[in-house]
Amino acid sequence: MLTQLTHGIATMTRRRALAATAGLVLGLAASSPFAPAQAADDTIKVGILHSLSGTMAISETTLKDTILFLIDEQNKKGGVLGKKLEPVVVDPASNWPLFAEKARELITKDKVAVVFGCWTSVSRKSVLPVFKELNNILFYPVQYEGEESERNVFYTGAAPNQQAIPAVDYLMKEEKVKRWVLAGTDYVYPRTTNKILEAYLKSKGVAQDDIMINYTPFGHSDWQTIVADIKKFGSAGKKTAVVSTINGDANVPFYKELGNQGIKATDIPVVAFSVGEEELAGIDTKPLLGHLAAWNYFESIKTPANEKFIKEWQAYTKNPKRVTNDPMEAHYIGFNMWVKAVEKVKSTDPDKVIDALPGIEAPNLTGGTSKMLPNHHITKPVFIGEIKGNGQFDVVWKTPGLVAGDAWSKELEGSKDLIGDWVGKKCGNYNTKTNKCGGQGS
């Protein structure tokens, strides 16, 4: 019975994805304001590769809307190189192999000049060979585990040293935390991040006994035991904090359980790397008052650029309650960098744009200017925010300046000598000890 069932599910996933995609693409094509596109020569096509159905639709749909919004704004300003931008939206349906198929379709069939897309690391890894083979550009807007620098990919989200490490520093200095729970969903981003954090904490003199690492399956909904364990771990007489890389849907029940079991932020603060304004929109945040998140952007940051962005975004989506979040800002920065690079080389040819991008600067929404680095990561400020009762964050700490993203973590044995440099060395994993290109990840 069970084997039959599993078999059925396996075969169905594919059909389901295809069917759903077909339906969605049709639907989008019909409803998109850009559908009656101008003759192909007058436009520059921009691919959008975000899941609009399936598990990841919850996070990725907003990013699709963000790029549509940015393209709309750019077209109002006259487009790029005198041509209008034309979005091409596809739905990879949270299905990793389908990401690769759709990427190929975007590049070969639709002939897009650039692609904005992916959320999970596994989807990024799945499209990598396609982008290399067909030589196109991917802008990846989500915080991730690092340990990668590819010629065709530009990483506008945070690397671990732009989110996890500063957050831990904050807890150590401001909250005097001595005991650490590293809780995460069981996949590559939490595992790598926790490996980096564990190495970092140990380098700061934290004993093995004072670190508890815990992994849960995707979509875990019964947190009773783990929350009780955290409570127990926290009763050892030392200030304890939870560093959470729990992803997606599992967060809501986790926070509900924390609130119900009465773990307050003043006792055991939880700092999360995957919980933003969008995720909090589904929870009553009053019991979560004071729990923390580390991001490079918060909607509540008051700068003229951010206020303008929020206003225009809410007008574009015709929803005055629509929130903004960190990956949206990453797309905002990435999109503007791409536009600048294209205007600089007066061409959308991927080779020229890839070479032009390092060194390009674009304003971020928090009052600074981010710069694309030779390792294809960008400089970003890091903020620590506390959850407020209204689902927003109150910034309680920020890094003094912008932090440059490290492609390769300095905390891990295997990667501490590696750098990504696509300008001088033309290499994503250059070993500074042996002065050779190649090493881990090659």
Binding site: L24, I58, Y215, S221, G237, E257, E279, I283
Partner: protein, 550 residues
């Protein structure tokens, strides 16, 4: 001291850290002064209050310390308003206001009533460190409050902060206290202070260890393990107290695991019970079962939205209203599905599997289009929030209610199948369709109603699950596999089997989880079920007799 402090500006994040220790020292000395009943030295009370308007954490912290030390009658209302987010400040006029719990607004310095808040006024911000400061300050201020609940909270916050300077106040409060449980809390608070007091005598400290040991919970454990340098005798007593508390807590953790198992079992049962009808009784491999659960959850969301906008007073009853509605919505859609799709596929399990799986995708995407892909907020009514302590375990109200609710749904369903005409017809049709038909039962109508009943119950499950899980289009997917597991394990076609199956899996999972971790625990359960099915292909409680052949 104060002059020295104010001459140093502590603004800006860079110097923030350096200032903390200074503030702590300042705060302690102020508390000390207040305890010695020296008249307030904090300068004009108004100036301290005006600091809230600066919107700097350091100024707020200073203000809290000064106000707590002022002895002013408004000190306690101001600080408790700050704690609850009811304190607002106008950055322009530097005026500070309290919004009282009854909605009235008063000026924080004078207590005079104000008509409305100025337009620029914003709630005074807090961070975690400030919240602790506020809690400790309030603890000191409310130790002698006439309100017993406040005294208890104060005693508990002093137990946590063990602020040495509060000892005289705690002792006088202890002497005056008449309520037994609060007296106990004061005694524990006093013990905590003495343990951390450097000049307390050994015998006092040993007594204190005994008091804390008697408390026996995790906070007592935290206090005793964090003692630091102590005389040898005390260290030894504390160590033995720690090990005795730990062994006591280890025993309680077994009880706790059992409770968590029951609670997980109830969720599994609730999710599976509808499937026990559609799959178990009717034999339809219903992959869209999870989506019925999701529809129930979304019904709850819609009900709560309507209540929020129109009848906010009814919020605590929202779930009671949502239960029948969710049953009707999901049940109606269930009947619709049976009439339009499933009735053509009886006896063709593979086609049914594919059709219902496709249907589940259609329903998911329909909901995604109608409500958006993001989570929807379903609030917990007040009677489902929070927890209570039973011995040394924490029982959350939402889990407790869900357990009760599940058992009630199960009992009602069982009674329905046993004692109503429809129940009789259902059993007749599922056990021997042809015989039932020749007895004059309209079998196709019964099929539709049975499927509707199963779907409706899945909808009800959605109402309860909306309280502990996300309300998103993916809600159903996460329960479908578990539901099939429970029904297959318990024995297809047997409701009691589903009950026993759900609780067995729940408890087994919760006893495995602390040992193996959540991921391995889940895998282990799956492997155990597969092995079990090899041995008993028909599950725990197999139907016997002629029904099996039908």
């Amino acid at each position: 001291m104060l002059a020295a402090f104010s001459s140093h500006s502590c603004r800006g994040p860079d110097v923030f850290a350096n200032c903390i220790d200074r503030f702590r020292a300042l705060f302690l000395s102020i508390l000390l002064l207040s305890c010695l009943a020296v008249p307030a030295l904090a300068g004009p009370f108004e100036d301290s209050v005006a600091k809230f308007a600066n919107d700097e954490f350091s100024d707020t912290e200073a203000a809290v310390g000064e106000i707590a030390a002022s002895g002013n009658a408004l000190a306690s209302p101001i600080i408790s308003a700050l704690q609850d987010g009811r304190l607002s400040a106008d950055p322009d006029s530097k005026k500070v206001f309290i919004t009282q719990t009854d909605g009235k607004i008063v000026d924080a310095t004078t207590g005079a009533a104000v008509d409305k808040l100025p337009d620029n006024a914003a709630a005074v911000r807090l961070n975690n460190r400030l919240r602790r400061t506020v809690e400790a300050a309030l603890g000191g201020l409310t130790l002698l409050s006439p309100d017993p609940a406040k005294r208890l909270a104060a005693a508990q916050s002093v137990f946590k902060s063990h602020e040495e300077n509060l000892l005289p106040t705690v002792e006088s409060a202890l002497a005056k206290e008449s309520v037994k449980s609060i007296k106990q809390a004061f005694a524990e608070a006093r013990a905590a202070i003495i343990l951390f007091k450097s000049d307390a005598s050994d015998s006092d400290k040993l007594d204190a260890v005994a008091v804390v040991k008697a408390r026996g919970d995790q906070e007592a454990l935290a206090l005793l393990t964090g003692l630091g340098d102590q005389p040898a005798l005390v260290t030894k007593a504390a160590a033995s107290a720690v090990s005795s508390i730990q062994s006591n807590l280890a025993m309680w953790s077994m009880v706790q695991n059992a409770w968590y198992g029951l609670s997980l079992g109830s969720v599994l049962l609730l999710a599976a019970i509808g499937l026990a009808i559609t799959f178990g009784v009717m034999g339809v491999i219903n992959m869209a079962h999870g989506e019925m659960v999701m529809l129930g959850a979304y019904t709850t969301f819609v009900v709560q939205e309507v209540i929020r906008t129109r009848y906010p007073a009814l919020f605590d009853y929202s779930l009671l209203i949502a239960v029948p509605l969710a049953f009707l919505v999901a049940g109606f859609i269930g009947v619709l599905i049976e009439r339009t799709i499933i009735r053509f596929l009886y006896g063709r399990p593979l086609e049914t599997l594919l059709a219902t799986w496709g249907l589940s995708l259609v329903l998911q995407q329909a909901v995604r289009t109608a409500f958006g892909p993001t989570n929807r907020e379903v609030g917990n009514p007040s009677w489902m929030s929070g927890a209570f302590e039973l011995g040394q375990i924490t029982i959350t109200y939402n889990r407790l209610w869900i357990l009760c609710f599940t058992l009630a749904v199960f009992a009602i369903l069982l009674a329905m199948l046993r004692y109503t005409a429809l129940g009789l017809e259902m059993r007749a049709v599922t056990q021997n369709r042809r015989m039932a038909a020749s007895m004059g039962i309209a079998t196709s109508r019964v099929d539709a109603l049975t499927f509707g009943l199963g779907s409706g119950i899945a909808g009800i499950a959605g109402v309860a699950l909306s309280q502990i899980d996300n309300v998103s289009p993916n809600l159903g997917q996460s329960y479908i596999i578990d539901s099939f597991m429970v029904v297959v394990f318990g024995g297809v076609g047997n409701l009691w089997g589903t009950l026993v199956g759900a609780f067995t899996l729940g408890i087994a999972n919760k006893f495995l989880e602390p040992v193996a971790g959540a991921v391995l625990g889940k895998i282990a359960i799956l492997v155990l079920i597969i092995l079990f099915i090899q041995k008993r292909p028909r599950g725990l409680f197999a139907l016997k007799g002629r029904a099996v052949e039908a």
